[in-house]
Symmetry: C2
Subunit: 119 residues, 2 copies
């Protein structure tokens, strides 16, 4: 059992303007899925991409849009998002403050999967 | 792909003083895990229990404690919690406002698993 505040977890920058922190997952012994916290600066966003596994996301704070192909849908605090295998998606911060999103993905062979851009 | 605000999802009461809303999971087509939002009233808590699957939790708002056996550890906003298979746990609201916690569990045979109290 482990408790850690996400602010105390060292992050990395998968793309400019985005910090990802892995807060619960295989390093804590979890065998099935991994929870990450993304902090997305105003005007920045995650890559528009698709992959073979699902996402379950939750908007903790901020405003943005979920892009999928040519569509954009608004996001606000408290929104839960299910993205299934193969569905194009990207999250953009269109608000004035930080956009904070929890994103859970399944482990593949016990590790956090990567992503193929533009699939 | 589905977006729904957790406040718009009908909840149920697994125990008095606790509302659970299933916000992303098999009803949305997700095959691996399910995300729930728990709202725990002041002085209330989830049952102290253990089970064969892991939890990954995130404290959205409020203050509380994570009980495990005879120990209690404080919880605050932004805490991520990993509970592994077989570990006793229960979340209590010891603050003055609502305690809101995201809790993700794996699906078992494609459905959200139940729990065995007191295991």
């Amino acid at each position: 059992m482990k408790i850690q505040n996400y602010r105390d977890v060292k992050g990395n920058r998968p793309v400019p303007g985005v910090v990802m922190r892995v807060v619960a997952g295989p390093d804590e012994g979890a065998p099935t899925f991994v929870m990450r916290v993304f902090e997305i600066e105003t005007g920045s966003g995650t890559l528009h991409h698709a992959h073979d596994w699902e996402h379950e996301m939750f908007v903790m704070e901020g405003q943005g849009v979920l892009k999928s192909g040519n569509t954009e849908r608004p996001l606000r605090e408290g929104d839960a998002i299910t993205v299934l295998s193969g569905e194009q998606h990207g999250v953009m911060n269109t608000g004035k403050g930080m956009l904070r999103v929890i994103c859970v993905v399944p482990l593949v062979d016990g590790v956090m999967p990567g992503m193929k851009v533009g699939d």
